[in-house]
Amino acid sequence: MNIQDLQNLQLIQIASERIRNVERPRSVSSVSPFINNNSTILSSCGVLCLNPTQESINQEGNTQREKAMDVNMLQRTYSDLLTSLFREGILNQQFTELQQLQDENNPGFVYEVVSLFFEDAGRLINELISNFNQQAVDYKKIDAYVHQLKGSSASIGAEKIRSVCQTFREYYDKNDIQGCYNCIQPLNQEFVTFKSKLEALFTLEQQIVAAGGSIPMMRH
């Protein structure tokens, strides 16, 4: 140690005595090389020395910072996903209405209703596909299924699905069988997309809540 260090040490000793008389220093937020190199000497003066590799207080600070970053990232991902769903026309305003119906009296409302829709629509689309594969296709029956699907997709704001159903029904009204047939594959595709995106959205929600965050509210 050189003379300069000694003087610094003395200054620190004086300062720490003063501090000790007032309050024991609890944490040191920055770690300088000087303190690091001279930690044993300083400890004996009553100065709390924190080493970047083993300071528990800083570690806790880091964990908290990490957690906050995780939640922020999740929330950002959630907002981005939701915004893109509206932008791509997969969801419409009715979905926002559903979100507004959810409150402390009705906490899982959106999840409940959308899950119901997954079951309902899944069943209807299976019926549609199997009916189309039959020898004698019963178009009236198929139209009835599509009408159901149109109604439920409209209720939850599943815009693309609703739109394909509408197109189907327009072809049906014009007795355009080819047109009807051409709607079935897109209908299935839209449903598959819708389901996977909404499932991703719900997973993000769960993760945000589990990490102690709140679901971002979106204004449209």
């Binding site: 305003q93 009715q94 209405e97 559903l98 507004q100 119906l101 409150d103 402390e104 009296n105 009705n106 409302f109 409940e112 209703v113 119901l116 829709f117 309902d120 009835a144 009408h147 159901q148 149109k150 109604g151 439920s152 409209a154 209720s155 939850i156 204004r219």
Partner: protein, 243 residues
């Protein structure tokens, strides 16, 4: 913004214009009146466009939505196309009302019920015309019914015709003094439950068919705030009892 309890507002005999005149610059704060739902009989008060009414007991979510709408939703109430949640007047009409919702599709049923519950209605669900008839055979305690038109087995028109038939039969007996007029402490001279059709395809023919079968009106599916309010306001006026 200013939140004030209705009793205080009335006691002090304040009006909107006194309130507004207190502010010399043009920035009048948003005014929220906290009112007891039992007071909804004062329809004139509730219709005042300048007063944002929030029903007690306060619920965090309702408060949040009301404030959000008043502060950010645009000053023009006519602008709020889908006032499903933000429309406080609908709350004053539907609070505590017993409503039957009929739809064969479980998703539609759940969404319609959720919307009505948000306004404070007590909602019962039925998934067929047949079930609707069972529920609405008088005497019953429902205040209104929302009925899907297109249902398999029995559609909304047929279900309504049968309900009106049951009501007519009972009303005849009431006239002839064959039965008691009182139910749940209310005196009912004649039975007529308001039935509103819920329809995704709102066209003129459907409207006529609705009225012919004995329905009282129709609303689109999913609900649209302003229209829902207009239709419901026809039956749930402050002085109306089941008459």
């Amino acid at each position: 913004m200013v939140l004030i309890d209705k009793e205080t507002w009335s006691l002090e005999a304040i009006t909107w214009s006194n309130f507004a005149s207190m502010f010399t610059n043009s920035k009048i704060p948003k005014l929220f009146i906290l009112a007891n739902p039992a007071l909804k009989n004062n329809s004139q008060f509730f219709q005042d466009v300048n007063l944002n009414i929030i029903l007690k007991p306060l619920r965090a979510s309702m408060l949040q939505v009301s404030l959000q709408r008043a502060l950010f939703g645009g000053g023009d109430k006519g602008n709020c196309r889908n006032g499903v949640v933000g429309n406080l007047s609908l709350g004053s009409l539907l609070q505590g009302k017993r409503i039957l919702v009929v739809d064969d599709n479980s998703v539609n049923l759940r969404v319609a019920a959720g919307a009505l519950k948000k306004y404070g209605a007590e909602v019962t669900c039925a998934d067929s015309g047949k079930r609707a008839i069972e529920f609405l055979k008088p005497p019953h305690s429902f205040d209104a019914c929302f009925m899907d038109i297109q249902m398999p087995e029995m559609d909304g028109f047929e279900a309504t015709r049968r309900i009106r038939g049951m009501e007519a039969a009972l009303n005849d007996r009431i006239k002839r003094d064959e039965v008691c007029r009182e139910i749940n402490g209310k005196v009912i001279q004649s039975w007529h439950i308001p039935i509103l059709a819920m329809t995704a395809d709102v066209i003129q023919a459907t409207h006529e068919e609705c009225l012919k079968s004995g329905m009282d009106g129709y609303v689109s599916k999913p609900f649209e705030g302003e229209q829902l309010y207009r239709e419901v306001a026809r039956f749930f006026k402050p002085n109306t009892k089941l008459s």
